[in-house]
């Protein structure tokens, strides 16, 4: 029974994928859209059943499917583990997934390859489920790479545009850099524990078997963190995520904001017992997270592409989550993942709605004044923006506040960085809101003529996500956290001590809210009061230009890594290959040259041959008789 349900959970999206890929064209657009959506909803329903069951029994469910890879010291089986963490993750993956599928039915309706789009989305959900429910690192790795593949396919969905294809390729390769780290981490863990199974490792850690190999485990967790940084777009592997906005907007919402990019956080949370053993790596994670959050937020301040702003905001928020992870506050990171999934999905879908209304326009300088026309979009967008800015009582406030609070207690410097990033977030999010929805419309007359509110299939997910963004904070209210209790069993150590609502806590909350309000106020004075519109690309100067060009990180990577590799490839192809080839031919040439010399002896002069013969004979006789 359980096996059947698990298979249903896992395979429903896969069947959806197969049907859409092979029969999608025959089915027609609507049918393929609804079919794809249905597949995810089935998974969602099954997940809910399991979720309720596990919430009650508190017993994780494990299912053995089949044997997979056998190694000398241990073997890896294809097992499924449904525990509190994976079910929680599945809930919002399939839940938000369903909403975004619904949204896409309308959004992608005009695309000729809509059935493929749904096929890929289903495949993504399938791999995401695999990632989450795998009972060992290697199955997680299947999902891990699988979602990377889907990300590649969906970023490059409009494959006729080579720039999009470049973005897709970049995403895949950057992810693979992380994957190598992940793989090495897996090797070390397998080597140390002789198992890749989460439960087994956890038991071994609790039993203290790991203490002999702490240095090695430090390397392992560092490698795993590199993997997580690749997937979750942390410094130095974050540059793919903004480029990934080349994909259709629902993809950005689902993969590049709500679910896939949080896989790194999932993995670290899964292996929290290992990371707890290696505090140095935790420090690294915290610092990287904080710096990423600040850098990405600062870039987000000046971007004019609506999706790029959201992308940098995602990177920044992910940085905050890693900060929490690094500080050992896994449940807070998970909390922020969930709230972030709600409001960021809402923001992306809202921006998609705007882009849809403007027929593909993404530049905020060409928007404005949409508040009156697109009421639902605006309202949900406003809620999500308030949530991400950390205004109570919306969801983002609670999760972000907890992160800040932990940071404040652990390390003041990190707290300052995170707080600045939060203020910046408030600023650029409201900048986005003001530029898009307020003042006059700045696009062409024709666009203005066509402005309309999106259809119900688009607004429905917006409303649901808007509501969730508003009330999601209830999952983990300060002082009485349902989430902490729920997640307790998956942590090796006792969960991060809940903060009492003392004076410091209230003061910190106050500071956070005031900070957010300062950011909002700055945006208000700049874009509403003064009515400024960001200048055109060519006129951007000074530090803003550096920011606008993302600190030239892409260019640096290009110059320092990609170009030299290309140069090396070219050099190897043109010189080393020919050189080696010439060495081989050299043997042949030497032989040929020798024989050319030998050929001269063969001059056709019989007399000469006879002389040679006679001298040869004499020397043989001489040797035989006189030298031997």
């Amino acid at each position: 029974m359980e096996t059947g349900l698990v298979l249903l959970l896992l395979l429903a999206p896969f069947v959806g994928f197969l049907t859409n890929i092979f029969l999608g064209k025959q089915l027609g657009k609507n049918a393929s859209g609804y079919l794809g959506t249905l597949a995810v909803i089935v998974s969602f329903i099954v997940t809910t059943m399991f979720f309720l069951q596990v919430s009650e029994t508190k017993q994780p469910i494990t299912v053995h499917l089949f044997d997979w890879i056998a190694l000398d010291q241990f073997s890896v089986n294809f097992d499924i583990l449904l525990d509190q963490l994976s079910l929680l993750w599945l809930m919002f993956v399939t839940g938000i997934g369903s909403l975004i599928h619904i949204y896409s039915i309308s959004y992608m309706h005009d695309d000729e390859n809509m059935h493929k789009f749904f096929g890929y989305l289903n495949l993504f959900i399938f791999f995401m489920i695999t990632l989450v429910v795998g009972s060992n690192l290697l199955i997680m790795f299947i999902g891990w790479e699988g979602v990377g593949l889907c990300s590649y396919l969906l970023i490059g969905f409009w494959y006729k545009n080579q720039e999009y294809n470049d973005a897709a390729k970049k995403a895949f390769i950057m992810n693979r850099i992380g994957d190598l780290g992940f793989l090495v981490g897996i090797f070390i863990i397998g080597y140390v524990f002789n198992s890749l199974d989460f439960m087994t490792i956890k038991q071994a850690v609790i039993a203290g078997e790991a203490s002999a190999n702490l240095a090695l485990l430090g390397v392992a967790t560092l490698c795993l963190f590199i993997g997580a940084a690749g997937k979750s777009a942390q410094i130095p592997l974050y540059t793919w995520l903004p480029d990934a906005m080349a994909g259709p907007t629902p993809v950005s919402a689902l993969i590049h904001a709500a679910t896939m990019v949080t896989a790194g956080i999932f993995m670290i949370t899964r292996l929290n017992f290992l990371f707890d053993l290696t505090p140095t790596v935790q420090d690294i994670i915290a610092v990287v997270g904080a710096v990423t959050s600040l850098v990405a937020a600062s870039i987000g301040l000046v971007q004019n592409d609506i999706k790029k702003v959201l992308a940098y905001s995602t990177v920044s928020q992910l940085g905050l989550m890693f900060l929490a992870l690094g500080l050992g506050a896994y449940e807070i990171a998970v909390f922020h993942v969930i709230t972030h999934a709600f409001f960021k999905a809402c923001l992306f879908l809202g921006s998609g709605s705007v882009i849809h209304a403007l027929h593909g326009e993404q530049d905020m300088r060409r928007m404005g004044g949409l508040k009156g026309v697109m009421k639902i979009t605006f309202f949900t967008f406003l809620i999500a923006t308030l949530a991400i800015s950390g205004i109570p009582p919306f969801a983002g406030f609670f999760s972000k506040d907890e992160i800040l609070m932990v940071a404040f207690h652990e390390n003041k410097a990190l707290w300052v960085i995170a707080a600045i990033a939060s203020i910046m977030t408030a600023f650029y999010m409201f900048r986005l809101l003001y530029l898009t929805f307020f003042k006059e419309f700045r696009g062409t007359e024709e666009q203005k003529h066509h402005l309309h509110e999106s259809p119900a299939l688009i607004t429905f997910p917006l409303i649901v996500l808007g509501i969730l963004s508003a009330v999601g904070g209830a999952l983990s209210l300060p002082g009485n956290s349902w989430l902490n209790h729920y997640l307790q069993p998956i942590f090796a150590h006792k969960a991060h001590a809940e903060h009492h609502l003392d004076t410091t806590a209230y003061m910190l909350m106050g500071i956070a809210v005031v900070g957010a309000l300062i950011g909002i106020g700055m945006a208000f004075s700049k874009y509403i009061k003064k009515g400024e519109v960001p200048v055109e690309d060519a006129q951007i100067t000074g530090f803003a230009k550096t920011l606008y060009n993302k600190y030239y990180v892409d260019e640096t990577y290009m110059a320092v890594i990609v170009k030299p590799i290309y140069a090396l490839a070219k050099f190897s192809r043109d010189y080393i290959e020919t050189g080696l080839s010439n060495v081989v031919f050299g043997f042949g040439n030497v032989t040929e040259e020798l024989s050319m010399q030998g050929k001269k002896l063969q001059n056709g002069n019989i007399g000469f041959y006879l002389f040679a013969f006679v001298f040869g004979l004499c020397s043989v006789v001489f040797y035989l008789f006189f030298l031997r």
Binding site: G607, F611, V614, F615, L617, C618, V621, F622, L624, F625, F626
Partner: protein, 169 residues
């Protein structure tokens, strides 16, 4: 007695051999060679190999030399028309001759002389009868091969020297 005979024959052999290679006229060479062959046949007789001596005269002096003479006459070579070789090659040839001669002789001189001198058991080993038996018993197969070889040589010679009809046509 035999010793004197040997030295006379030996001097004829060597002298005519020299004359063969030195005379300008090929016909003269051929005739000197015939004399040389006869003297070799004489050596065979001295060694009591009568049958071989006769065969030698028949094959060499008879068949081979006649063939050569015919060829010379066929080609109309009976005049001294050989172009001069360069002096260098002549010197080289002489040096080579001396070298071969010295090396061979020196080699032979250096070998240990046969300790036991010749002892004749009196057994008959080289009469025609014995030879025939050896040839057709022990050396049966090579004998047959030799005959095949001669046949092939004959056919080959005919084929080679035949005028190419197609070419003429």
């Amino acid at each position: 007695m035999a010793e004197i005979l040997f030295y006379i024959l030996a001097s004829i052999t060597l002298g005519t051999a020299f004359l063969t290679i030195l005379s300008r006229n090929p016909i003269h060479s051929a005739i000197y060679l015939v004399i040389c062959f006869f003297s070799i046949a004489g050596h065979y007789l001295l060694l009591n190999a009568q049958f071989l001596a006769i065969v030698h005269i028949i094959v060499y002096s008879g068949a081979i030399m006649i063939l050569m003479l015919f060829t010379i006459m066929l080609m109309n070579l009976n005049k001294e028309d050989e172009s001069h070789k360069s002096v260098a090659s002549k010197i080289a040839a002489t040096i080579a001759f001396c070298l071969v001669g010295i090396v061979l002789l020196a080699g032979l001189l250096k070998t240990k002389p046969v300790v036991e001198s010749y002892f004749h058991s009196g057994e008959d080993f080289q009469s025609i009868k014995v030879l025939g038996q050896v040839l057709l018993n022990e050396y049966m197969v090579p004998f047959e091969f030799a005959s095949v070889l001669l046949l092939v040589a004959m056919i080959g010679a005919v084929l080679i020297s035949k005028k190419d009809k197609q070419k003429e046509a």
